[in-house]
C-alpha cells in the first residue's frame, strides 16, 4: 500500500468525493489562491497548507471557490449552500478564526435541524487547521475543539494519522450533519499507509492504537503521536498500556474507554487544549461517574497550561504536552 502524507490523504479524499458527487463544493480563503493576482498563475496556493491543491484545475471555479477573508460569510455560505442541497467543504484556514465566524457555526448550522423540527439537514464540513508547535503565536495555534464538542448538533472529528484522515474526511463529506474537522498542522507531513480507493471510517468509534494491561491512555489528535513515544519509554520497564485515540470527540466512544479502564483500573488522558472545560476533563468526568468502581488511582490529566499559546520556542515547547510529561503521568498513575 502506498505511503502518503496526512496532507495528501486529505487532498485525495476531496478529489474522490468531488468526482463522485457533483454537489460537493470547496470554499475558503486561498483554497486555490491566485485569483486577481498579477502573475496569471491561477492556482497559486492550493490552500495555505496545500491541502486543496489540484482541485481548481479539475473541478473549476464554481465548485472550488476562492473567497474573500470573510469567515462569517464563508461558514454562513457553507451553511446556506447545505440547506439548499449542496455538500460544502469550507476551509477556515486556522482554527483560531472560529472566533470571527462562531455565530454561523454554533447558532446557525448546529441548530438548523433541531430548530426546524427535523425538516432539514445541514451536510456541511468545516475544515480547521489547529495546534501549537510551529511558533505561530497565540492566535494561530489553538486547538479549540473543546468549544465545538460542547455544542449539540455538531460532530467533531480529530484525525491523528493519514489513513484515518482520509476515511474520516470522506465520512464527514457524506455525513448529513455538520462536521467540524480538525487537522493538526504538525501532522500534515506525517506519512502512513493509505489505500487509493475511497473508504469511510464511522464516527464514534475510537481507534485502539496499542493494547496493554497496566494503564489506559486516551490521547487526542497529535497527542496520540507523543503518547506512542511515552509508551515506548515505559515499555522498557515492563509497563504496558492501552492507547486509545477517540478520533471523534462528538460523538465520543465512551464504551471503548470505559471497557479499557475496567481492565486497567488506571487512566491517563492527554489533550493539547488548556485544562478548563477541556475534552480531557469531560472524559475524566465520564469515567469518574460511569466507571468509578474500576478506578484504582486518581485519573491523571495531561494538558497544556491555562494560558494562551506562547510564541517563544522555549515557551511553546513547554506549553505542548510532550512525551516526557505523558510518561511521567503514566508512572504517576501507577504509584
Amino acid at each position: 500500500m502506498a505511503q502518503k502524507s496526512f496532507r495528501d490523504a486529505l487532498n485525495e479524499a476531496m478529489h474522490l468525493e468531488m468526482e463522485r458527487d457533483p454537489s460537493v463544493i470547496v470554499l475558503g480563503e486561498d483554497v486555490s489562491g491566485g485569483a486577481g493576482g498579477t502573475s496569471g498563475h491561477r492556482e497559486a496556493s492550493g490552500g495555505i497548507f496545500g491541502v486543496t491543491k489540484g482541485l481548481l484545475p479539475k473541478f473549476g471555479e464554481h465548485r472550488v471557490i476562492d473567497t474573500p477573508i470573510s469567515e462569517s460569510a464563508i461558514i454562513g455560505a457553507a451553511g446556506g449552500a447545505a440547506l439548499a442541497g449542496l455538500r460544502p467543504v469550507a476551509e477556515l484556514m486556522f482554527a483560531d478564526f472560529v472566533g470571527v465566524s462562531m455565530d454561523q457555526i454554533f447558532n446557525q448550522m448546529a441548530k438548523f435541524r433541531y430548530m426546524f423540527g427535523g425538516k432539514t439537514r445541514c451536510p456541511a464540513v468545516v475544515r480547521l487547521a489547529m495546534g501549537a508547535g510551529m511558533n505561530m503565536g497565540a492566535q494561530h495555534s489553538q486547538t479549540i475543539y473543546n468549544f465545538m464538542t460542547a455544542v449539540p448538533g455538531l460532530k467533531v472529528v480529530i484525525p491523528t494519522n493519514p489513513y484515518d484522515a482520509k476515511g474520516l474526511l470522506i465520512q464527514a463529506i457524506r455525513d448529513d450533519d455538520p462536521v467540524m474537522y480538525f487537522e493538526h498542522k504538525a501532522l500534515y507531513p506525517r506519512k502512513g499507509e493509505v489505500p487509493a480507493e475511497a473508504y469511510t471510517i464511522p464516527f464514534g468509534e475510537a481507534n485502539v492504537l496499542r493494547e496493554g494491561e497496566d494503564v489506559t491512555v486516551v490521547a487526542i489528535g497529535r497527542m496520540a503521536v507523543f503518547a506512542e513515544k511515552a509508551l515506548d519509554a515505559v515499555a522498557k520497564d515492563g509497563i504496558s498500556c492501552d492507547l486509545i485515540d477517540p478520533r471523534t470527540t462528538s460523538p465520543l466512544d465512551e464504551e471503548t474507554i470505559l471497557e479499557s479502564v475496567e481492565n486497567t483500573g488506571r487512566l491517563v488522558i492527554v489533550d493539547e487544549s488548556p485544562p478548563r472545560c477541556s475534552v480531557a476533563h469531560d472524559i475524566a468526568a465520564i469515567v469518574a461517574s460511569k466507571g468509578f468502581k474500576s478506578l484504582r488511582a486518581p485519573i491523571q490529566i495531561v494538558t497544556a497550561p491555562h494560558t494562551p499559546v506562547p510564541f517563544a520556542p522555549s515557551l511553546e515547547r513547554a506549553y505542548v504536552p510532550g512525551p516526557a510529561k505523558i510518561e511521567a503521568a503514566i508512572r504517576a498513575v501507577l504509584k
Binding site: 474573500p68 470573510s70 454562513g76 455560505a77 446556506g80 449552500a81 439548499a84 449542496l86 423540527g117
Partner: protein
C-alpha cells in the same frame, strides 16, 4: 397606467398582505392573554415588502428571514395553520414546536428559516445563491433584513462575497425606522442603505415599502436581472412597523401619535385598496370578500392551535442529529 398584474394575481397579492396583517393583529390580541409562550416580533405595517418581493418567486427560489419573520413566511407560502401551531408551541407546528415564532422554516416552499440573530441570514442566502448559480437554474436567493441588520459585519461580508462570486442573491433591507429601540437615523451612519450597498459593487434601488406596486416593480427589476446572471442587488424599502420591537415593548422611543399617523398614511392595505379601485382593476366587493375569508382563516388557525397538543417530552432529544 397599464394594469401591472392580472386581476387574479392582484387578488392573490392582496390576500397575502391581508393574511399577514390579520395574522399579526390577532397575535397582538392573543399574546396579551399570556397563552403564547416566549416573545414575538410583529410584521404588521411591512406586508407590502414581503409580498411585493415574494410574488416574483416560486418554491424553488430561496428566502431567509429574520426574527420579524411571519410576513416573509406567509408571503413565501408557508402554511398559516402550521405557523400558528408553531407559535403556540404545538407538536403539529411547522417545526414541531421546536422553533417558535423566530425560527419558522418550510423547506418545501424554499423558506430556509427565520433567524433570530440579526444579520445571521445574509451569509446563508449567499450560500443558497451559490447553489442556484451552480445549478444554472435561474433561481434566486433573497435575504430579508432590517435597518438594524444592515449595520452588522456579516451583512457587509455577505454583500461583498455575493459581488465577488457574482451569485443571484438579493438583499432586501426593510428600514422600518428602528433597530430595536434605537432610531435608524442614529444607527445607520451613512443614512443611505442602498448607497452603501452600491459601494460594494452591486445594483441597489429604493422603494416605498408602503406601496405594493413600488416594491413589486422595483423588486421585479432586480430579481429579473439576477435571474439572468447580473449578480446580486439590494432593495431598500422605507417602511414602518405598527407595533414595538417585540410585543410588550412600551415604545418610549416613538412620538406619541407616530403609529396612529402612520396607520393613516403608511398602510399598504389602504394604499392598495385605494389604487386598485381607483384604477378599476378590482372592486371594493372583491377586496371585502378577501377580508372576510382571511378573518375566517385566522380564526380557524387560532382555534386549531389552542386545541392542539404540545410536543411530547420525548421529543426533546430528537432531531439534534440525523445519526449520532
Amino acid at each position: 397606467m397599464a394594469q401591472p398584474l392580472s386581476a387574479e394575481r392582484l387578488k392573490r397579492a392582496y390576500r397575502q398582505m391581508k393574511t399577514i396583517r390579520e395574522f399579526e393583529e390577532r397575535l397582538h390580541v392573543e399574546i396579551a392573554t399570556g397563552e403564547i409562550p416566549g416573545f414575538t416580533h410583529l410584521y404588521a405595517g411591512q406586508e407590502a415588502v414581503a409580498v411585493g418581493v415574494c410574488e416574483h418567486l416560486d418554491d424553488a427560489d430561496y428566502i431567509v428571514s429574520t426574527h420579524r419573520g411571519h410576513g416573509h413566511c406567509i408571503a413565501k407560502g408557508c402554511d398559516v395553520d402550521g405557523m400558528m401551531l408553531e407559535i403556540y408551541g404545538r407538536a403539529d407546528g411547522l417545526c414541531k414546536g421546536k422553533g417558535g415564532s423566530m425560527h419558522i422554516a418550510d423547506f418545501e416552499k424554499g423558506m430556509l428559516g427565520a433567524n433570530a440573530i440579526v444579520g445571521g441570514g445574509p451569509p446563508l442566502a449567499v450560500g443558497a445563491a451559490i447553489a442556484c448559480r451552480n445549478r444554472g437554474s435561474g433561481k434566486v436567493s433573497i435575504a430579508f433584513g432590517g435597518d438594524g441588520s444592515c449595520n452588522q459585519g456579516t451583512v457587509f461580508e455577505a454583500m461583498n462575497m455575493a459581488v465577488v462570486l457574482k451569485v443571484p442573491a438579493i438583499f432586501v433591507i426593510e428600514d422600518n425606522g428602528y433597530s430595536e429601540h434605537t432610531g435608524a437615523s442614529y444607527a445607520v451612519g451613512s443614512k443611505d442603505i442602498a448607497g452603501r450597498s452600491r459601494a460594494f459593487g452591486m445594483a441597489a434601488e429604493k422603494c416605498d415599502g408602503a406601496d405594493f406596486f413600488s416594491v413589486y416593480e422595483t423588486a421585479g427589476k432586480l430579481i429579473g436581472a439576477a435571474r439572468s446572471g447580473a449578480g446580486p442587488a439590494t432593495l431598500e424599502a422605507k417602511i414602518t412597523r405598527f407595533y414595538g420591537h417585540f410585543e410588550g415593548d412600551p415604545q418610549l422611543y416613538r412620538a406619541k401619535d407616530e403609529v396612529k399617523q402612520q396607520r393613516e398614511s403608511m398602510d399598504c392595505l389602504k394604499n392598495f385598496r385605494a389604487r386598485v379601485t381607483k384604477e378599476g382593476w378590482l372592486t371594493d366587493a372583491d377586496l371585502d370578500a378577501i377580508d372576510a375569508a382571511v378573518l375566517a382563516q385566522i380564526e380557524a388557525a387560532v382555534k386549531k392551535a389552542k386545541a392542539s397538543a404540545p410536543p411530547a417530552e420525548s421529543e426533546i432529544t430528537t432531531d439534534v442529529y440525523i445519526s449520532y
